[in-house]
Amino acid sequence: METFKKLKQFYWPYKKYFFASLFFVILVTAITVVYPIILQITIDDVVLKEQYSLIPYLAIGFILIMVIKGISNFTQQYLGDLFGVSSVYSLRDGLYKKLQRLSFTYYDNARTGDLMSRLTMDVEGFKFFLAAGLKELIRIVLLIVISLSVMFFYSVPLALVTMAAMPFLAVVVYKFDQKVHPAFRTVRKSLGKLNTRIQENVSGMNTVKSLSKEDFEIDRFTVNNENYREVNIKTSNIWAKYFPFMEFIGNVSMVALLIYGGFLVMNGDLSLGKLIAFFSLVNYILGPLVQLGFIVNQFSQAKAAGERLLEILEAEEDTQEKEDAISSGEIKGHVRFDHVTLKYVDEDDKALKDISFDAPPGKVMGLIGATGAGKTSITQLMTRFYDPVKGNVYIDEQSTKNYSLKFLRKQIGFVLQESFLFSTTIKENIAYGNPEAKMEDIIAAAKRAQAHDFIMEMPNGYETMLGERGMGLSGGQKQRIAIARAILIDPKILILDDATSAVDMETEFKIQKALKEVMQGRTTFIIAHRISSLKHADEILVLEEGQIIEQGKHEELVENNGPYQRIYDIQYQDKEEIMNISG
């Protein structure tokens, strides 16, 4: 119940739909029972008592009631669904907004697949319950109660005899539910595994072919395929075992009705019409009783779904903004780290240990070191993707915490390691950080990133659509568009994290020449593995296990007999030798 209370803000605004729908459901259910009553009157009063004049009244009355029922039914269903769909509209909106705000730390630990499953299946499950589940429960209970009442009104002994099977049926329904819902879960799981198996096979087809493992893949697939078949058959066997039996119990009631009811009619204790009405009433009880099991299960599923959604809605937002945060002004781009220590959640090792450096506006800083040494971590602190556990990061001598996130991030152009592009045109991708950008600025940025030429070679140029069904780009091309994207927002601080790793040397050379002018007046951070990428930096920081172990200009470091020189030697070793051989 807690779960439903917590989600109230999403469905309570639409409560009028629900209550209206409920009213009409009650109306509909009451009218449903009219049919057997009409039958009863027709047989007893019209036929047997020969009151033929009643016929037109009955007919018209029946039609009128059915019209009311029809309209009520339409209204009840429409309003009920509207309640569900509106609530879920709000819910999705709330979830999306929340997800936009959650921090990097959250996303480091979350899996896209799991989040998607919550946003789709759990939301749908919850909607279904709101729109139909709860209402159905009420309708079924109501139908059973009203039908029973009419039965008892017609004949108490016959009602008792007929309903003798009811508790027995309830037990069987209960046992069926106990078996069938876990079986459904097994089927869903098996389907999930089959899905993953096929998906991986198709995504990794190049690898499969490269090692000629088609037969192996078919074997693996067969295991999942057969399992899926078997669990489906098992589930339908449960169905086959219980459903006909439940129907049989209903039939037994019918038989009891026949014999005892027939006996009563023969003795004159019951009118024939009422006996015939009983036949319909029995179905109004036994059928819904079976459905009851499913509805109750839906309740627990909706609860579970709601809980999973709440986990997102209540997730902690690690990065807090100050109330009086700075959100305007001219930033010069002076970056200073003051004894900064960083630790990622759940890890024993610190990612950064006591880092200090000073980068006045316009300075070009190079960061080099092994994977995991801390290069990316340094840059991520500037944009407050994470916050340090000790020390402070200053921009223009103000702690980054004093700025509003939006303002801070608009000053920094970040080219991340993974160059992710969105499903939209190349133009929109480059202009992502500034959707109002003019075409000339977009082209200028693309030219500087050495992307303009290959874009113009594409069928639709800048209007070329990227994405799953759109054009595929090579790694190097993606990176260049990502660089253009960062340049476009005219940032005061530029961060290039391994931004040219997939680009060949020739193109990188051109990019760096162009970037030289872009970097004028901007504080730039270049993270790379190739010394050729950052040799021209004003200062180079060599990082190892979260600490700065060497720093200085390239010319100094190559003579320093330290790790930098070692890297240099490896990367440049062949040159002398080779050039000498050629003479």
Partner: protein
């Protein structure tokens, strides 16, 4: 709600992202496709199918018989004549019939589902196996998603048809025909009067239902657009946050969310008409029954028992008609799905094996290109009369710009394509004379990007040779220098990894792919060197690993790093599909030709910045 809509109109970010809409999900009925689909039922046509049909027949007949017994015999004879003995007999007969029906139903459900699941299983297996054998260009032309949709969703959508669909079709036809016959034999006048609702019901069931289905399809299309965006915004959240585009994205989302809401509302509204229409047609039927039926009882044309039977049967109409409508819709969906499935099944791989193809016995790995010319589909000549000789055990480096023919040569060696002129030979055998399996199991390709399967690191490396023991896997990892970083992970070789995961760095993934290839132990290795720059330490380990990997087999490398190229036994310089120079590093440097220029310019660039 209304407020949100006007805001939506004002937002400029509605067209921010574009997700192409799905294809049609319905196609007109096609006999040829139906026959092709039914062929999958054939293996079971002699055993399961007849039994299922028998079970179905039994329960259907009981369902038809009982209302007659109750109406005609129980009410008109037993009760009317106060004949208790007859009543008792009838009750016993009816109970027995119910029992038979119970048994029949039980077997029907069981057998029908076994049949359906087996047929679907067979279809899915055939589709998957067939797709495995298709060539590279098949996969290059399509997104992974569209292939997945065929094998999973389209096959699954046929599930209903094959399990319940076919049997239900027969059941319902028998029911309807049976009911109509019985009603006519009870009282033709009342039958005609009551059956007037049948056409109305048919109309509702098919036309209205189809209308409703279409609007739900629209909903599905919008929903998939919504989901595509959700997926993308989750994957690109870091970019969104670094460029502070949260608000703009939310505006786009509002648009998509609202579109989805609108379509759902429309579909719901249409669906809500369905119930009342059904009720109304039932009501009309009932009114006719009551008025005309009572009239007929009065003038003695029918008995009360007949009236009661009519009432029972009236209630039994809706189910078969509704299901027939459903089956019709299922068929239309099945047509669309099967069309897509057959499209794949009709694709053929690029290369065919000759019927008298031979096996390689103990391949040495001597590769020859004999005046080979090759064009891809679009008449672009990729290779112009190439003749090269690669001796067994040699390391060959292919050097040249993109499009110079390096990958084409690699593809021809694996026989993913056949040359348009000339021949490719291994150990003196023209590849076209050899069995594909026998050829390919001796060749391994190491790609630029390493794909990681979800599972443990051990599983991933073992993919190179699935029968390998744990020790063999670890030995391979040791040789390539991957063992250390694996052991540093918390769970070592049992660490769970996956393609989108971040546990392994780019360099570590490369080492993993080397271990895979080493485990596979091929006679011929094709290596497409990764271009991404990685940290120097790992770079060095990869260089070392490479040396170990190349040893003892014929290796063809599409290489970029000078250090790799230098070590090759033979360097082949390609341009626009022609061989410019051949020789080892020293020879080519002395020659001072194309190769020399390439090397020199690399170093010039290193210095220039």
């Amino acid at each position: 709600m209304v407020e949100q809509q006007t805001n939506r109109e004002k937002s400029t970010h509605l067209k921010r992202f574009y997700y192409p809409l799905d294809q049609a999900v319905e196609k007109p009925f096609n006999w040829r496709q139906m026959t092709r689909l039914l062929a999958y039922v054939k293996p079971y046509a002699k055993n399961i199918l007849p039994l299922a049909m028998l079970a179905m027949l039994v329960s259907t007949l009981v369902r038809l018989a009982v209302p007659i017994l109750i109406g005609k015999v129980v009410i008109d004879e037993a009760i009317a004549n106060k004949d208790t003995t007859l009543l008792s007999y009838l009750v016993i007969i009816i109970s027995v019939l119910y029992l038979i029906s119970y048994v029949g139903n039980r077997y029907r459900i069981k057998l029908v589902n076994i049949l359906g699941q087996k047929v679907i299983h067979d279809l899915r297996k055939q589709l998957f196996s067939h797709v495995q054998r298709l060539s590279h260009n098949f996969f290059d032309k399509r997104s992974a998603g569209s292939i997945l949709v065929r094998i999973l969703n389209d096959v699954n959508s046929l599930q209903e048809l094959f399990t319940n669909g076919i049997i239900n079709l027969l059941t319902d036809i028998i029911m309807l025909v049976g009911i109509i016959i019985i009603l006519f034999s009870l009282s033709p006048q009342l039958a005609i009067a009551v059956l007037v609702i049948l056409p109305i019901m048919f109309y509702i069931s098919t036309k209205l239902r189809r209308n409703i289905r279409r609007s739900w399809q629209d909903v599905r299309i919008q929903k998939s657009r919504l989901n595509s965006h959700l997926n993308e915004s989750l994957q690109g959240i870091r970019i969104t946050q670094s460029f502070s585009q949260e608000k703009e994205n939310t505006e786009f989302f509002n648009g998509v969310n609202s579109d989805n809401f609108e379509k759902e509302r429309l579909a719901m509204k249409k669906s809500a008409y369905f119930g009342p229409f059904v009720e109304m047609s039932n009501a009309i039927g009932t009114v006719i029954l009551i008025s005309y039926g009572a009239h007929l009882i009065i003038n003695g044309t029918i008995e009360i028992g007949d009236f009661v039977s009519f009432a029972f049967f009236l209630g039994m109409f809706w189910e078969p008609i509704s299901r027939l409508g459903q089956i019709y819709n299922q068929l239309l969906v099945a047509m669309a799905s099967s069309e897509r499935i057959f499209e794949f099944l009709d694709e053929q791989p690029n290369v065919e094996e000759k019927p008298d193809a031979r096996e390689f016995s103990d391949m040495m790995g001597h590769i020859e290109f004999d005046h080979v010319q090759f064009s891809y589909d679009d008449d672009r000549i990729a290779l112009h009369e190439i003749s090269v000789d690669m001796k067994a055990g040699e390391t060959i480096a292919l050097v040249g710009h993109t499009g110079s023919g390096k990958s084409t040569i690699a593809n021809l060696i694996s026989r993913f394509y056949d040359p348009t002129k000339g021949s490719v030979k291994i150990d003196g055998n023209d590849l076209r004379d050899m069995k594909l399996d026998s050829l390919r199991k001796n060749i391994s390709v190491v790609l630029q990007d390493t794909f990681i399967f979800s599972g443990t690191i051990m599983d991933n490396i073992r993919f190179g040779r699935p029968e390998a023991t744990d020790k063999e896997v670890m030995d391979a990892a040791k040789v390539v220098g991957a063992h250390n970083f694996i052991m540093r992970l918390a769970e070592g070789y049992d660490t769970e990894v996956e393609e989108r995961g971040s546990i392994l760095s780019a360099g570590e993934r490369q080492l993993l792919s080397f271990a895979r290839a080493l485990l596979a132990n091929p006679k011929i290795l094709i290596l497409d060197e990764a271009t991404a720059s990685i940290d120097t330490e790992t770079e060095m380990r990869i260089q070392q690993a490479l040396k170990k990997l190349l040893h003892g087999r014929t290796a063809i490398m599409i290489a970029h790093r000078l250090s790799t190229i230098r070590e090759a036994d033979k360097i082949i310089v390609l341009e626009h599909g022609k061989v410019l120079e051949q020789g080892n590093h020293d020879e080519l440097m002395h020659y001072q030709g194309e190769y020399f220029d390439l090397v020199k310019s690399q170093f010039d660039m290193l210095d220039a910045l």
